[in-house]
């Protein structure tokens, strides 16, 4: 490349760069922003072995929330308007990597709060980092009970995570126990006697399966568990083992996330193991992403799945708007972790405004505890925290700093290629859309 061409290219590049901030300023020309930009760290799995599809959805939701907040003149504290930015850190779904990224976000990027996290293992590993550094945090997807329970009780031999009177960790996703109880209650209500749990070998899968197994066995159901590693593609040998049983199981429950669950469900269907008239197929919540589901599980009709988050028919205006944006970007329905990630950023903004500070962690935590805001998933509030530290007897420890109202339902497809918007909600009864607790293969509701 000659000197002239190089100079021209440089000039063009600089002109392009100069236009960039201009564009942003123009978009927000009605708002007078302060010099400081409030930053939040967003932890999400953006590369394998994490659930990348989930991470991409969360990253999109963070960016969408920040854009919507900035378009509404940012975060207003004491009359000043601050722009808000979410810096996404790639946890890769790994606890070690998650910890390193959380430290980098806190120490190098100096974020004012943290949101996100998909994998329970990452949540459990990073909560100590946030606590140590006094960073208010709202987790939007990890399910492991101990993520919130560890605020008030010992966990794996470690003392409760806060010793200065302030627990910085909150969660707005359901706990494994909340999800498990709905699925197991449904199976028990259907009268199953013999269930196989196929479980991923992770900090999400194992405790969730243990919880479901305990509930089912307490109801007299025989439970067998099969562990698998995430990323496995071929399940035929182990599925052949299920086929070799003298009697087929009444239900197979898949406690496996991501594309691994798609491969498993499809192979199960191809081999004629489930769904069948004898065996109920209960797959992972990601089946709600119907475009992905039908692309990869073409034989998965009549599989049921647990759905976390508000059901489409109950979407409020904000949720509809978010869903429209998501459909434009990805051609699918916004997943619950996308909605929760969007809401987490808004909740942080709301708490900072009410606390009157973006840096006073104690004030922000107190403000989050006192949250009462309706966003895409409904009304957010926290029953238990420093504002109400005494959990009544019988209340699970995981209710500490836990949003109590995530909606968990069991849904079921009953037509090939069906949109999840049209799939039947079969349980709990109060949300049933087709008047049936289960749609047997080959039938219609």
């Amino acid at each position: 490349m000659n000197r002239k061409a190089l100079s021209l290219s440089l000039i063009a590049l600089m002109a392009l760069l100069a236009l960039f901030p201009l564009g942003i300023a123009q978009a927000d020309e009605d708002c007078e922003f302060a010099d400081y930009t409030i930053t939040l760290g967003g932890l999400a799995p953006m590369s394998a072995p994490g659930a990348v599809a989930g991470g991409v959805a969360m990253d999109w939701a963070f960016a969408q929330a920040a854009a919507d907040i900035n378009a509404a003149c940012g975060v207003e504290i004491d009359g000043a308007h601050y722009q808000l930015e979410v810096i996404t850190g790639d946890s890769e779904g790994s606890p070690e990597r998650g910890q390193a990224v959380a430290e980098r976000l806190i120490l190098e990027d100096e974020v004012d709060g943290m949101v996100g996290v998909y994998h329970s293992a990452v949540g459990l590993a990073t909560m100590g980092v946030m606590e140590e550094n006094g960073i208010p945090t709202i987790f939007s997807e990890p399910w492991n009970d101990n993520v919130s329970a560890n605020g008030i009780r010992e966990f794996d031999g470690a003392a409760p995570r806060f010793d200065d009177g302030i627990d910085h960790i909150f969660r707005i996703s359901p706990t494994s126990s909340m999800v498990g109880s709905v699925v197991t209650d449904w199976l028990i209500a259907l009268g199953v006697q013999d269930v196989i749990l196929i479980v991923e070998n992770t900090d999400y899968g194992q405790p969730a399966a243990a919880d479901e197994q305990a509930r089912l066995e307490a109801a007299g159901v025989t439970v067998s568990q099969i562990d698998i590693e995430l990323g496995t593609e071929d399940f035929v040998p182990i599925l052949s083992r299920i086929q070799a049983r003298a009697m087929p199981p009444d239900a197979i429950r898949i406690v496996v996330t991501g594309e691994t669950s798609f491969n498993l469900t499809q192979q199960m269907a191809e081999l004629g193991i489930a769904p069948t008239p004898e065996t109920i197929c209960v797959t992972n919540q990601i089946a709600f992403q119907h475009v992905q589901y039908w692309a990869t599980v073409p034989d998965g009709n009549y599989c049921a799945f647990n759905r976390v988050g508000i059901i489409p028919s109950l979407f409020n205006e904000l949720a509809v708007e978010l869903n429209t944006g998501y459909e434009e970007a990805f051609g699918d329905i916004v997943p619950s972790f996308g909605m929760a990630s969007y809401d987490a950023v808004w909740m942080m903004k709301d708490a900072m405004e009410r606390a009157g500070s973006y840096s006073d962690a104690a004030a922000i935590v107190a403000a989050i505890e006192a949250s009462d805001i309706t966003l895409t998933q409904g009304r957010y509030y926290f029953d238990y925290g420093a504002h109400n530290p005494d959990l009544p007897e019988g209340t699970p420890a995981y209710m500490w700093h836990q949003w109590p109202d995530p909606i968990v339902t069991v849904m079921q497809y009953f037509e090939q290629g069906q949109s999840s918007l049209e799939a039947a909600v079969v349980y709990p009864e109060v949300y049933q859309t087709h008047g049936s607790a289960y749609i047997a293969p080959g039938t219609s509701p």
Partner: protein, 515 residues
């Protein structure tokens, strides 16, 4: 049954003796590398090897291997005490009426394997007999028939053909199966009358998926045999092959549908050659631009360069694909509309039946594609001038050049073809698995195992290695005593076979010695 087949017992009876044999073989080598002043008597090293291997496994062997000077009487004495203690624990645990068979199969078998593997090859060399395959045959024979192996192999030192190894291997496998049956009577792999059907089902599962594994591994071995490098981009080329097929089918079907006004769906089989051709070009261009300088002597540290450049190429492909295709899983239509082939249940006698055997339709089809492609490759390599040129280059580059073969072109061809085979296996599997940009990671790890197992550079070795890995994984997952853990350990079973082959036949099943 009082016998408790838990991890500790397995260690004491199975892994302990096996590591003792490894220690016996390895530790004398550590001593031989020392100067005369530091030399430690070989006998002491052998004893230390057996004791440390039995008592502490790889930890003890590594410790003495790195620092043989640690072998002092006190250390040995402590080791002996520990070994005796562990052995007595083993005896205490085994209070089963089947004690003799258990002791033989788990304790004496591996021990005799180690002893035979150590002494018999030396005898062959002492009488100046051909010692090819003797180590493997002696170890397998020692495991299968114990001291009788000395009667068979010591005195006459017969030439060891592959038949010997197959016979000893089969006998050893039968003994392991017997032991397994004693302790897991309700396991579907041994519980009559269904076990034959079940074993056939799992073997069929293994052969089907193993053939598909082979196709990918063949490409890797082709590149290695000609260029002497391992392509760390192979998994990503496999992945991108699937995506090329996917997009060809997507856009091709769309274009045809619009042109004809009728909805047309192109069969995924047509995506296979398309993906192969595109990736062949990508691979060939990459070789010309980035690997040729290495062969031209322009790169100083060739091995490191080859690793880094192919690794980087793989990263580039993966993240570019992620940026273009996104992280959401994809899959093409089926090859055939038959969901599964079923061999029906057949009553052979009043007490015995066979079947049903189920094979997923698309997998069976992909297996056929794999076999056709591998045999086409073998035909190309054996019967065409260019193929012979590739083989000649893999054997001796300079001699090949003298005969008029251009080694530079052969390098490009081998990398292009290796990449093409990876891509074609990807295109053959995208109708079967959910496809994401990181889908190659699991598959490529298995391919490395297969090519080393089959013998680096051997195409038939890759085929056989792939099928062995497929069968071992299927039987391992299907027969594991604890059904809840079988699937989680699936890949580990292949690695055990891999480790055993490396120990007994470091060149792999079909590999040739490097001179």
């Amino acid at each position: 049954m009082a016998f408790d087949l838990n991890l500790t017992t397995l260690w004491l009876l199975f892994a302990g003796p096996l590591w003792a044999a490894v220690g016996l073989l390895l530790l004398p080598r550590a001593g031989s590398s020392k100067s005369a002043d530091e030399a430690i008597p070989a006998t002491r090293l052998q004893i230390a090897g057996v004791i440390s291997g039995f008592a502490l496994g790889p930890l003890g062997i590594s410790l003495f291997y790195i620092a043989p000077a640690l072998i002092r009487r006190a250390t040995l004495a402590a080791g002996i005490v520990l070994a005796v203690f562990l052995a007595s624990q083993a005896l205490v645990r085994v209070t089963d009426p089947q004690l003799p068979s258990v002791l033989w199969l788990l304790l004496a078998g591996p021990l005799w394997a180690g002893i035979a593997a150590y002494f018999i090859p030396r005898q062959y060399r002492a009488v100046e007999a051909n010692d090819d395959n003797v180590l493997t045959a002696a170890a397998l024979g020692g495991f299968a028939i114990g001291p009788l192996i000395f009667g068979l192999m010591w005195k006459h030192s017969p030439k060891i053909s592959r038949d010997w190894m197959i016979a000893f291997g089969s006998l050893g496998a039968w003994q392991i199966y017997t032991l397994f049956a004693i302790h897991n009577p309700s396991n579907p792999c041994v519980a009559a009358p269904f076990h034959i059907t079940y074993l056939t089902q799992q073997t069929a599962n293994g052969v089907v998926i193993g053939t598909i594994y082979s196709l990918m591994a063949v490409g890797l071995t082709l590149i290695y045999s000609v260029q002497g490098i391992v392509s760390f981009a192979h998994g990503q080329l496999y992945m991108v092959g699937g995506y090329f097929s996917f997009y060809f089918l997507l856009f091709g079907s769309d274009a045809l549908s619009r042109a004809t006004g009728v909805e047309i769906s192109i069969n995924p089989i047509l995506g296979i050659p398309v993906a192969g051709v595109i990736v062949f070009i990508i691979g060939a261009v990459f070789e010309r631009v980035f690997l040729k300088p290495m062969h031209d002597g322009l790169i100083e540290r060739v091995s490191e360069y080859a690793i880094l450049i192919t690794f980087g190429f793989g990263f580039f492909i993966e993240y570019t694909t992620l940026a273009i295709a996104g992280p959401f899983p994809q899959r093409t239509d089926r090859f055939i509309e038959i969901r599964r082939f079923t061999f029906p249940r057949t009553q052979i006698t009043d007490d015995f039946f066979f079947g049903p055997i189920n094979i997923i339709g698309d997998r069976a089809f992909a297996m056929v594609i794999g076999i056709v492609l591998i045999f086409a490759l073998l035909y190309f390599l054996q019967r065409t001038w260019t193929g012979r040129g590739l083989r000649a280059t893999s054997q001796d580059r300079q001699a090949a050049a003298v005969t008029g073969i251009n080694p530079t072109n052969m390098n490009t061809l081998s990398f292009g073809m290796g990449s093409m085979l990876a891509a074609m296996s990807g295109a053959a599997l995208i109708p079967i698995f959910a496809w994401v940009p990181w889908v190659g990671a699991e598959m490529v790890g298995r391919s490395y195992v297969i090519v080393v197992l089959g013998g680096l550079g051997s195409v038939p070795g890759a085929l056989v290695g792939g099928i062995i890995v497929g069968i071992v994984e299927a039987l391992g997952a299907g027969c594991h005593p604890d059904p809840s853990r079988g699937a989680a350990y699936k890949e580990a079973f292949a690695l055990v076979i891999f480790a055993l082959v490396l120990l007994l036949k470091p060149t792999g099943l079909f590999g040739r010695e490097q001179h």
